[in-house]
């Protein structure tokens, strides 16, 4: 029997595993998923918990239920990848030899890398919402917050779901408005980027949202430490806060560092079109674990899984790999008060207005707030469990399409060229 090992059963790993369980002849191949966590967490739901949502039961499923019956799941972590010898060293001391390996070990937050962020203030005045217990702790805290300065800080790029900080601010504005204390709350978004939106068209189309909602944006703020009641940047600026919501530094998995296969933040150098690891044989990488400038988002993992699924079969058949991944991402952006936007873009094309996925019809509107988009964002959870994770065919293409999109008004000749977006 040949072995296809998949490290990590998050969104990317689960989709690839389920796809390969069906695509590979099961008399010749064993497909093994390695993940120590007994459950699968629906991460898009985390954003809503701090503002009072209580649907954890619908956000968590036993891992066993998310994996195809022909898959073998080992509830163990990986300590190191020995890619020279094509062996995985496991946390329980066992070793697993593989023919092909897919690394989908994702990203994790590292609050301990910023001075003063953890310690006594952690989960008292300093919160995160990228973990289940972090989002739950913030849900306990917010009702007791009677007013003051709430600072949301992105410590360092890249982060998972680059639109999440903006969504958090929009939802915070709606939440405090509903409580009738919006005038007593100052909302501040401190980012290391030079704008809340890094694409010129997005900036032009979406900045009004921040302005209309009275959210102050502090740009090029590179956090050095959290001082208990203020953030200090490397260039000695300060941002005082009564409540700090931090999006801490993200890194890849610990075994990436141990194995010496990652960059400075343990993300793995990967070919941007074939998704083959750059410096290793027979290793594919997708999802948040990669070092590419595509967004770290579930939709991206899904689009990548089609390319990796195809390329795994090509590699097995000794055929050339398809350089087919174009950086495609597709994200709902919650804007508060029951509305959302939808953005669709890739490595080269910034988000454009139009309708999606059916040109001219939708039902979703690109780059425009609508209630249908919000319904889409909420309905997506069902699609996630029943369509996305099982790798069923969905009516969206992994390659970005220009159909149904409107051309931009001619850009000013000096406008910066498009690259991936926030």
């Amino acid at each position: 029997m040949k072995q296809l090992a998949i490290i990590g059963g998050g969104t990317a790993g689960t989709i690839v595993a389920n796809r390969m369980a069906r695509a590979l002849p099961h008399k010749e191949w064993t497909v093994t998923v390695l993940d120590p966590a007994p459950e699968h967490l629906y991460q898009p739901g985390l954003l809503f918990l701090p503002f009072g949502a209580h649907d954890e039961r619908k956000m968590i499923r036993p891992r066993k239920k998310t994996l195809h019956r022909r898959l073998s799941w080992r509830q163990v972590g990986v300590r190191a990848v020995d890619h020279e010898n094509k062996v995985l060293e496991l946390d329980d001391g066992d070793r697993l030899a593989y023919d092909l390996v897919v690394i989908t070990s994702g990203s994790r937050i590292r609050p301990e890398l910023t001075d003063g962020l953890m310690g006594d203030a952690w989960r008292r005045d300093h919160f995160d919402f990228y973990t289940l217990d972090g989002a739950q702790a913030l849900r306990e805290k917010l009702p007791a917050f009677k007013g003051g300065r709430l600072v949301l800080n992105v410590v360092e790029m890249p982060i998972k779901c680059p639109v999440a900080p903006l969504e958090f601010m929009f939802l915070a504005d709606a939440y405090f408005t509903k409580r009738g204390i919006r005038d007593d709350v100052e909302l501040v978004y401190a980012t290391p980027l030079d704008s809340a939106f890094t694409k010129p068209y997005c900036a032009a189309q979406m900045s009004y949202l921040l302005e209309a909602k009275g959210i102050k944006v502090v740009t090029e703020f590179n956090t050095m430490k959290a001082d208990g009641n203020k953030l200090v940047s490397y260039d000695d600026r300060t941002e005082p806060y009564d409540l700090l919501v931090s999006i801490p530094t993200h890194s890849g998995a610990a075994f990436v560092e141990t194995s010496g296969i990652g960059d400075e933040l343990d993300f793995i150098p990967t070919d941007r079109h074939t998704l083959l690891a750059k410096d290793m044989r027979d290793v594919f990488v997708l999802g948040d674990a990669i070092d590419l400038p595509s967004s770290k988002a579930g939709s991206v993992a899904h689009f990548q899984s089609e390319v990796v699924g195809h390329n795994l079969l090509a590699a097995i058949a000794d055929k050339p790999l398809e350089p087919d991944f174009d950086g495609h991402a597709n994200c709902f952006v919650e804007t508060g008060h029951g509305k959302a936007m939808l953005i669709d873009f890739n490595y080269d094309v910034q988000p454009l207005p139009g309708k999606y996925p059916v040109p001219g019809i939708g039902p979703f509107s690109l780059m425009k707030e609508s209630r249908a988009n919000h319904a889409g964002k909420l309905g997506f959870r069902w699609l996630y469990w029943h369509g996305l994770l099982p790798a069923k065919p969905l009516p969206v293409s992994h390659r970005m399409s220009m159909r149904g999109k409107k051309a931009l008004p001619p850009a000013k000749p000096d406008a910066p060229t498009a690259t991936p977006v926030a």
Binding site: E156, M157, P158, P162, P192, L193, T198, E220, N222, M224, Y234, D235, D263, E264, L265, P269, D291, L292, P293, S295, D414, P416, T419, P420, V421, A422
Partner: protein, 104 residues
């Protein structure tokens, strides 16, 4: 796009001052860009500029601060005092590299 003459060579930059062709760079060009910015360069500065050049040649993209700091062992705080305000952008600009992307 703007055309400059740095160290006797015609060099094109974009509107933010980043060179459009990294291959045109020489240490004298780097020196000329730094003088234009008004930043005197010490050996410590050059250590970092040279690392950024080398890394770009291998990785194909401009290194971010964490990467520079990890490889050169120069603390991020010191990068800020060597290249005030935005060290990431300043290092890339003097080294003739594209503006570092913030990996979104």
């Amino acid at each position: 796009m703007t055309l400059h003459t740095y160290a006797g060579t015609d060099i094109q930059t974009n509107d933010e001052g980043f060179m459009t062709d990294a291959n045109q760079w020489t240490p004298s060009v780097g020196q000329a860009i730094a003088s234009e910015i008004g930043l005197p360069l010490s050996p410590r500065h050059w250590e970092i500029i040279n690392y950024a050049r080398e890394d770009f040649a291998g990785a194909g993209k401009s290194p971010g601060l964490r990467r520079i700091s990890k490889a050169t062992k120069v603390p991020i705080k010191e990068l800020y005092s060597l290249f005030p305000k935005g060290p990431g952008k300043l290092i890339a600009r003097i080294a003739g590299l594209p503006k570092p992307k913030s990996c979104l």
